[in-house]
């Protein structure tokens, strides 16, 4: 399991980098923007909280950089990100955790769906080289995967919401509804999530299809696939166990790299649809200069991405015995 340990170590290092960036950036920016923000807190919260914010943003701080840094680290690990301006007087942590389920539901499900579907379609396309699926798809998906997420979102709104009135154009749920675990609410939320989900799905699936297709084509040239044919195995088994299982491995590694795009896309899509998830809240906090909330959300996004990558790494260990025998 050394492989997993190594990846965990990487997780920690990256997280540390994100936290440190959070700490350093406001201090490096000219014009000391955080100063203005601090003004908005005065008189509204207790001095300890003020002090914590001063440490986080490097304002009016008489402590040395290094000791500020360690205090900040301590605060982060205790989940104390401060108090949100936009949702005053709620804690940042509280707000963040409110938005998280919405994003997990939308982006999490869609990404997994896109990965699964995309990989499957890519595998099938490569399996039938030269077939209709294979000759049409690559050019189409090459083009669609270079569409900006937000533009596709706008198109979708225009088409399905304005033109055809099939689906709602914004928000996570109708304002008139009562929030709660009821079927009506769930159905309503689902309707609201459909357009954003489709947008993300359509744009991100292209990359999965193409990479899986290319991987599979390369794997199909391998001797062990020819050997499987020679053994007279059924095509389905060859495609699945021999080609598929080997072709997906580089895709899992590539998963990590493409998450960056998914995150970017998710933020923009939530923005366009006013969907109350992490991305929307993140942009909102930027707009209203609610830096405490912004920092908390940035770290949350980072942690989510790292967790997803770790999951992909675990999957690699399960699927590829070569990683188990550390070389």
């Amino acid at each position: 399991m050394r492989f997993v340990l190594r990846r965990l170590g990487f997780f920690v290092i990256t997280l540390w980098a994100a936290i440190t960036l959070n700490f350093l950036i406001p201090r490096l920016m000219p014009g000391n923007p955080a100063q203005a923000m601090m003004g908005q807190y005065r008189g509204r919260i207790n001095p300890q909280a003020i002090h914590a914010l001063e440490i986080a943003f490097g304002v009016n701080n008489h402590q040395s950089l290094l000791s500020s840094y360690f205090t900040y680290l301590g605060n982060v690990f205790r989940g104390r990100f401060g108090i949100s301006l936009t949702f005053f007087p709620d804690q940042v942590t509280h707000e963040v955790l409110q938005a998280l389920p919405w994003t997990l539901a939308l982006v999490g499900v869609t990404t997994i769906l896109a990965f699964a579907l995309g990989t499957l379609i890519g595998l099938l396309a490569a399996w039938r080289r030269g077939g209709t699926l294979d000759s049409l798809m690559p050019p189409i998906f090459v083009i669609t995967s270079s569409f900006p997420y937000f533009w596709l979102a706008m198109l979708a709104i225009w088409l399905f919401s304005i033109r055809f009135h099939w689906l709602p154009s914004s928000n996570g749920y109708s304002i008139t509804d009562n929030v709660g675990w009821t079927w009506t609410f769930a159905y309503d939320a689902f309707k609201h999530a459909l357009l954003p989900a489709m947008t993300i799905l359509v744009t991100s699936i292209g990359a999965w299809i193409l990479t899986m297709r290319n991987n599979t084509i390369t794997v199909l040239t391998e001797d062990y696939v020819r050997m499987a044919r020679a053994k007279g195995l059924r095509p389905w088994r060859i495609m699945w166990t021999y080609a598929g299982r080997n072709a997906i491995l580089p895709n899992l590694t590539g998963f990590a790299m493409s998450l960056g795009f998914v995150v970017a896309g998710a933020i923009l899509v939530e923005f366009v649809f006013n969907y109350p998830g992490v991305g929307w809240m993140f942009l909102h906090s930027v707009e209203s200069e609610d830096y405490a909330l912004m920092q908390g959300l940035f770290l949350l996004i980072t942690v989510t991405v790292l967790t997803a990558i770790l999951a992909a790494d675990v999957a690699t260990v399960i699927l590829d015995p070569r990683t188990r025998d550390e070389r």
Binding site: F10, V142, N214, I217, R226
Partner: protein
């Protein structure tokens, strides 16, 4: 959101099919070939055209746009018309003009960020890959961390603290954060290049490290560097547009993203100004698509495996073969190959790799097929086993392969599957490649057993152990993965697997060439023993005649896709009939016996895309004369042997 380039990472170092002879025509070299390849590829043309259009617009916006994009002088919210091709904005600006004027910024961002990111990626990736050690460890860590950190949110955070960042800041930030993916790819390409001898050769020559990196490594990675550039350009276009869209760019700048920002702010979609929202996005999409198309096209061009070529079957009229003899008339033969012909498509004319090859194989006979690279022996072998297709190109375009009375060429897929492994099994050259790395040996044996029998799990396990013992492998290795076994063991495990059903015919493609001399010898002896014990016939392909000299019953010598000679092994070694066989035998220095000066065979085999008229060996034959090249040379029978030489009586 482009597809990461896969094919450009490594070119297999395997020799091409047939050595490239000195062609008389003048080749324009790599750039000429590249240009032609680009012209042929539709995606590349499409991408290039779009890019060209945008470039022209970016250079001459004043000449193309009817109005000044910023001027708010028109009536707001007009629908498209002749005066305003795309209507006007909520502020009364002409959308079409804005679009034209906005091209420049978008293109500049794409190219500038692309260039910056590529330079950084090359610096980091190649240095990490080449220098190795601690430097690599550190650089790789930095690369991976930046790769994983959510870039878009990070840029937003930076932009949050400094609003209205200028163009330069945007370019620098995007460039400095966007090189990591390219660096990773360049690093792995460099690592695989490091094993290439020409780099070592340069170092041994005394070149400095910096020279090697700049002039030996980089020129071979041009396609990957280009792919990195294109990928970075796409990333730049989309990310910049995204940032401008959410209002983090300069709202007064002229760019497509900013147009969308204003459109969104003015609720363009709801206010019936759909074009305002759609048009800029379309341009962004098109620009991104042009880069993506070019990227994809270069991928295809640089890795031939990704291209599909169709063979024109019409060029190979299928002559009516003579009716098959009724089964049972000749029980001695387990396999009869008749006039087998295999061809594959190339960028030029199709190549006939196997040309009307015929032979019979008796029950329990050991036939060795011998020849050099490009002679078609592997293609022949896999054609018989019906395993053509990637990576070995080719289709059977004529002839028959009669196995136990049935023509394998005509068999339906399902029927064919039933014959496989039970009656005909295959042993390949490299067990490391032929065994699935993610399955254990036991799994792979079980696969075959389940596909062809009703054996219970226990019976399968028992049988697997049995065949492993047959080849002197301790059955404890049954549950190992291929990479855990040594080379020799893997090879023997493959042979064991081939014997699971004690087939009538085992086809072997150079199964010993990856082993050292001592292991080769012992494996050959083992194969021969098994063959005699279990009674299966063997077709054994090899380039090394002496290897099979003590084991094969008959030897088939192939040259340029044709049978040159077919004799009993001893006869061929004692009295080779074909000048090629003679030449071959004369090319092996011997361990014992007198030391003589050897000559080998000068020249190279012919280019099978344009086979010479008459005898294919004539250009290299010491006995050739005018009579040899007049017409196609048939096979002559001589005392039970076959030889394709018009002068066989005089040359032997």
């Amino acid at each position: 959101m482009s597809a990461p380039s896969i094919g450009a990472t490594d070119h297999l170092a395997t020799p091409p099919v047939g050595p490239a002879p000195m062609v008389a025509e003048v080749r324009q070299g790599r750039w000429g070939d590249l240009w032609r390849a680009i012209r042929r590829n539709k995606k590349a043309v499409a991408g290039a055209v779009i890019l060209l259009v945008f470039t022209v617009i970016a250079i001459f916006p004043g000449q193309i746009a009817p109005y000044d994009g910023q001027a708010m002088i028109f009536e707001p919210a007009l629908p498209p018309s002749w005066h305003h091709l795309l209507g006007t904005t909520a502020q009364g600006q002409d959308i079409f003009s804005q679009l034209i004027w906005g091209t420049r910024l978008s293109l500049v961002i794409a190219l500038a960020v692309g260039a910056l990111a590529t330079v950084l990626a090359v610096l980091v990736g190649v240095s990490a890959g080449y220098i190795g050690g601690g430097t690599d460890g550190f650089l790789s860590l930095v690369t991976d961390v930046i790769l994983v950190l959510p870039i878009f949110p990070l840029i937003i955070v930076i932009a949050a603290y400094e609003k209205n960042a200028g163009l330069l800041t945007l370019v620098v930030v995007l460039g400095v954060l966007g090189w990591s993916y390219g660096a990773r790819q360049l690093r792995s390409q460099t690592l695989s290049l490091r094993r290439r001898d020409f780099l070592e050769s340069a170092r041994v020559r005394g070149e400095r490290k910096s020279y090697v990196i700049l002039f030996e490594i980089l020129p071979t990675m041009t396609s990957l560097i280009l792919a990195t550039f294109l990928g970075a350009a796409i990333y730049a276009v989309l990310t910049a547009a995204g940032l401008q869209f959410i209002g983090l760019g300069d709202p007064n700048s002229q760019s497509w993203g900013t147009m969308l920002y204003w459109a969104q702010n003015s609720e363009a979609l709801f206010a019936g100004m759909a074009w305002w929202a759609i048009a800029p996005g379309l341009c962004i999409a098109l620009l991104g698509a042009s880069f993506a198309l070019l990227n994809y096209a270069f991928d295809e061009i640089s890795s031939p495996a990704l291209r599909v070529r169709k063979l024109e079957r019409s060029r190979f009229p299928r002559a009516e073969p003579p009716p098959p003899e009724p089964a049972g008339a000749n029980d001695e033969s387990v396999l009869k190959v008749q006039d087998l012909t295999v061809a594959y498509a190339t960028d030029a004319s199709p190549v006939v790799a196997v040309d009307h090859v015929s032979f019979d194989l008796a029950r329990g006979e050991f036939l060795a097929i011998v020849g050099e690279s490009g002679c078609g022996k592997s293609t022949l072998l896999y054609a018989i086993a019906r395993l053509l297709g990637s990576p070995l190109p080719g289709e059977i375009v004529g002839g028959r392969v009669l196995f136990q009375g049935r023509d394998l060429v005509l068999l339906e897929a399902k029927e064919l599957r039933r014959v496989r492994w039970r009656d005909i099994s295959v042993v390949m050259q490299s067990a490391m490649n032929a065994l699935n790395p993610v399955l254990t040996v036991a799994d792979q044996m079980r696969d075959a057993c389940e596909a062809h029998s009703d054996m219970s799990k226990r019976e399968i396990e028992e049988r697997s152990r049995e065949v492993l013992r047959l080849v002197s492998i301790d059955p404890v290795h049954l549950h190992s993965y291929p990479h855990q076994l040594s080379g020799g063991m893997r090879q023997r495990a493959m042979i064991a697997m081939a014997l699971l059903f004690t087939p009538d015919l085992v086809i072997m493609d150079e199964p010993t060439s990856a082993l050292d001399v001592v292991a080769q010898r012992s494996l050959m002896v083992q194969i021969k023993e098994l063959q005699e014990r279990l009674g299966f016939a063997v077709i054994f392909v090899t380039h090394d005649m002496s290897l099979v000299s003590h084991f094969s019953d008959r030897l088939l010598v192939m040259y340029a896709g044709q049978v040159a000679e077919l004799s009993e092994t001893r006869d061929l070694f004692d009295r080779p009939l074909h000048p090629y066989s003679q030449g071959l035998l004369g090319a092996f220095p011997s361990i014992r016996g007198p030391k003589v000066q050897l000559l080998g065979i000068p020249g190279s085999p012919p280019d099978l895309a344009r086979p010479p008229a008459g005898c294919r060996f004539a250009p290299r034959c010491p006995h050739a004369d005018a009579g040899c090249v007049e017409a196609e040379v048939p096979l002559f029978g001589v005392n039970g042997s076959l030889v394709r030489c018009v002068k066989h009586e005089t040359v032997a």
